[in-house]
């Protein structure tokens, strides 16, 4: 069985984000990148399938700039246990979901995987659309929001998917795609020996003709800095002032 896992590089959650000079992108200088956590879980899950079955190959596909920080994200996935990785070169990762999905689909088509895994959403833009569009473009059924390990039969896949207010049990034939929720597995510690082995695994760079994004980001703004609370007075006398401030300053009433 061949499993392809789509991984997006995102800024480390611990990074202090700065808006770039253009005002609509993140300044990536000095930003640490990590695999988006749901994607990383999908990689871990794929590797666990590999450990429990014979003859499973796990291939990582990402789209992003051909630079050291992207490669590091891929090495991390290879260290978890994936066999090889493909980097679709693009200037950034801020394209609209359709553009990204079509580039991914073009590359994945050549790999013809039996199972295609995604994290449910990337934690930077939170679009959550790439899995649906990519699998649609590849004509693969999608099990969306899988919350527990799949039941992998000889010719079918069964998955428990969480939807608003309930659970759907979906079954599909191979090949099929699934997007993964946080509860499916947990990330194990990664010993240095696996990191070292990963350094010898293949990362193939492919170039992509990206379509123009229909969607563009106009402006990015950091949330306003939180200011501390304030005591406006004590006892019943303070109530009118409190109301005034809530109405005029905080504008919540």
């Amino acid at each position: 069985m061949k499993i392809v896992v789509c991984v997006k590089r995102v800024p480390d959650t611990a990074t202090k984000i700065k808006v770039g000079a253009e005002g609509n992108v993140i300044d990536t200088k000095d930003v640490e990148f990590i695999p988006s956590p749901y994607d990383e879980l999908a990689v871990e899950y794929a590797v666990r399938i590999q450990e429990n079955q014979s003859d499973v190959e796990v291939v990582i596909v990402t789209l992003g700039p051909a630079e050291a920080s992207t490669e590091k994200v891929l090495r991390r996935c290879l260290a978890i246990g994936a066999n090889r990785a493909i980097l679709i070169e693009s200037a950034g990762t801020d394209h609209d979901p359709y553009v990204i999905a079509s580039a991914l689909a073009n590359t994945i088509k050549e790999e013809s995987p039996d199972l295609l895994l995604f994290g449910i959403q990337a934690i930077d833009d939170d679009y959550g659309q790439v899995s649906s569009i990519t699998s649609a473009l590849l004509d693969m059924p999608l099990l969306w929001g899988v919350s527990e390990p799949l039941e992998l039969g000889g010719s079918t896949v069964k998955g428990r998917c969480e939807v608003d207010g309930g659970v759907e049990i979906l079954e599909s034939s191979f090949p099929c795609a699934a997007s993964i929720k946080g509860s499916i597995t947990d990330i194990r510690m990664c010993p240095l020996i696996k990191i070292r082995r990963a350094s010898k695994k293949e990362i193939k760079n492919v170039s992509a003709q990206l379509e123009d994004s229909a969607l563009s980001v106009e402006k990015l703004e950091l949330p306003a800095e939180r200011v501390g609370g304030r005591i406006v007075g004590q006892g019943a006398d303070a109530v009118p002032e409190l109301f005034r401030l809530l109405r005029e300053e905080a504008k919540v009433l």
Binding site: K72, A79, M189, P191, L192, I193, I195, A198
Partner: protein
């Protein structure tokens, strides 16, 4: 290690440098460059050794960063430093977790399932652990940096096959056992004896070792003992592998300590222990050299621990100083607190620069870095002490209270200035190892004086300063123009260091080894020169990688500040060579010793 030992140690290191291992000799073919600091003592600025600043390869950097992240996560989630301090015990799961990550294989060759990482990698990795628990860091480095290091450097294939499988998994913990009740700094005074058995198969070891880190749970001991033998070659001492399961090995009671309470420190008692002759590490009689080479790398590792560990104290200080308010302002708005915070940052910048320059030199494997690693040890342990002490001060009363981690950090940091060579002994070593090189030169000069006719030219040249200027480089050409005023400080003080050394050798001749007031100042000058040169090289390399001065605003500002600190120290130490109250110091000390206490009556 006495003063005589210092000279001995410096000789060993030099021999080592003159006979680089065959492997490197074949590879490079070129004569290995000398040490940067030993050259500096001779007035030579061997800048090619420190420029460009060493860089990890892209692959190694990636591997290091991925591992550091993993190690940091493990430590954050699994280590409770306060509890370990209270229980005076590290939970076995923590050791197991580190073993699973591969920590015990960091310094084991790949053919024995180890990872054999570079010093640059190693120092970064062990710099993570003390941020969570210094006791654990001490335990780990006692195993990796000193316990198993002689096996790594001098072990036979057979010895490695026998012991690595258990050591690499952490199943066996290792310890290094040199110190004895009567032999601490003066390691050559050890009394533990080794006597060849009649059948020639064993050495019978007897003696008492003390202060063995990991003693309580180690299974593998690198033990130093003196062979009782008339053979000149075998005199001096010898390193043995002793395992806990050998008959006659017993472990004494755990010591109660000021700090590092979670680490184990015990005596090791050897009562007629039969150690197979196959367990000798390296050559018989060469134990001192082995111990010194092990400690040489151990000191660099300690530098990694200090430079890494203080970052946690800085984080705490900065967080507290920005949040805590007094007089209606946050502490960080007060100049006196800013001074403390800035100094923490600048010293850490210098610590990192020196440690990773030295680690890079060590990784080249063809260069003598013994003086440099001793500098790193003295400098980083004293900076760490200062930084943690100031952290306690910034926290005010809370710093003293055990609910906060800083009283523990202060207790834990204290020992670093004592073990792996006390900072006093290492200052003597730095000065004497550097002077020995210059001393060799004077020997040549001595010959010249005995054969005046043939050597007239030589003497004339020397006294006119031509010899020096003919083979010595006095300028730094490699540093970028933006760094010229900092480079000028190094350029000014290397010749002054040389002058100071030459003058004291000329004045005191062989007795110079007992002139500790001078030696300390010379060592302090060497420390400032090396650490500043390391900072310059580091910033220079960033500039050469295409960064601009504006990109490097933080680095430039730290460098400028450190240059100011270093220059002040250089000035003070240089001037006090001639302008001092050494005589009075000796007298006052003598008054107190004679009076067996404070000699004057209490003032009413």
């Amino acid at each position: 290690m006495t003063t005589a030992n210092c000279i001995e140690e410096s000789k060993k290191n030099q021999e080592n440098h003159e006979n680089p291992s065959e492997k490197t000799e074949k590879k490079t073919k070129k004569k290995a460059p000398f040490s940067f600091m030993k050259s500096a003592f001779a007035g030579d600025i061997a800048e090619e050794i420190i420029f460009p600043y060493p860089q990890q390869s892209k692959e190694e950097k990636e591997e290091t960063q991925l591992f550091l992240k993993e190690l940091d996560k493990f430590c954050r989630e699994n280590i409770d430093g306060a509890q370990i301090d209270l229980d005076a015990k590290i939970p076995p799961e923590v050791i197991q977790g580190l073993a699973d990550l591969g920590v015990f294989g960091l310094t084991v060759p790949e053919e024995y399932d180890g990872l054999d990482v570079s010093y640059t990698f190693f120092c970064q990795a062990i710099g993570i652990i003390p941020r969570y628990c210094a006791s654990l860091a001490a335990t780990v480095v006692a195993h990796l940096s000193i316990g198993t290091k002689a096996l790594y450097m001098f072990g036979t294939e057979d010895q490695k096959k026998r012991y690595y499988p258990k050591l690499v998994t952490g199943e066996w913990i290792a310890a290094f056992s040199l110190t004895e009740p009567q032999a601490g700094s003066d390691a050559s005074g050890i009394k533990t004896s080794a006597k060849l058995s009649e059948d020639g198969k064993h050495y019978v070891l007897s003696g008492e070792k003390i202060y063995v880190t990991n003693g309580g749970f180690a299974s593998f001991f690198t033990v130093f003992a003196k062979i009782n033998s008339g053979d000149e070659e075998e005199k001096g001492f010898t390193a043995f592998i002793v395992t806990k399961d050998m008959h006659g090995v017993s472990i004494g009671k755990e010591e109660k300590k000021l700090g590092l309470k979670g680490s184990s420190t015990t005596p090791l008692l050897l009562d007629n222990v039969k150690v197979p002759v196959d367990n000798i590490l390296g050559q018989k009689g060469k134990g001192f050299k082995i111990a010194m080479e092990v400690l040489n790398t151990g000191r660099l590792g300690l530098g990694g621990i200090c430079a890494g560990g203080v970052k946690k104290a800085i984080e705490g200080s900065v967080q507290y100083a920005t949040q805590r308010r007094q007089f209606g302002m946050s502490l960080s708005e007060f100049g006196l607190i800013q001074k403390k915070i800035a100094r923490m940052g600048v010293l850490t910048f210098a610590m990192d620069s020196a440690v990773y320059l030295t680690a890079g030199l060590a990784d080249r494997k063809d260069i003598d870095f013994s003086v440099e690693s001793a500098i790193c040890k003295v400098f980083t342990t004293e900076c760490a002490w200062e930084i943690i002490n100031e952290t306690v001060q910034i926290f005010g009363g809370s710093g003293f209270i055990a609910d906060y981690p800083y009283e523990r950090a202060l207790r834990d940091a204290r020992i670093t200035m004592i073990f792996e060579g006390t900072n006093e002994i290492l200052r003597l070593f730095i000065a004497l190892a550097g002077m020995r090189n210059v001393g060799e030169y004077f020997k040549k000069l001595g010959q010249a004086i005995n054969q005046p006719l043939q050597s007239l030219g030589f003497l004339y040249e020397y006294f006119s300063g031509q010899v020096i200027s003919s083979f010595v480089k006095e300028k730094i050409n490699n540093a970028s123009a933006q760094l010229s005023s900092e480079a000028a400080i190094v350029q000014k003080y290397i010749p002054l260091l040389n002058q100071a050394v030459e003058k004291s050798i000329r004045t005191h001749k062989k007795e110079v080894i007992h002139q500790q007031f001078i030696l300390e100042r010379v060592a302090n000058m060497a420390i400032s020169i090396y650490t500043l040169a390391a900072c310059i090289s580091r910033v220079d390399s960033s500039l050469r990688q295409g960064k601009t001065e504006a990109d490097l605003d933080q680095e430039f500002t730290m460098l400028k500040t450190y240059a100011f600190i270093a220059e002040a120290s250089l000035q003070e130490n240089y001037q006090s060579l001639t302008n001092n109250c050494d005589k009075e110091i000796q007298k006052v000390s003598a008054f107190l010793c004679a009076a067996e206490g404070y000699p004057l009556p209490d003032v009413i």
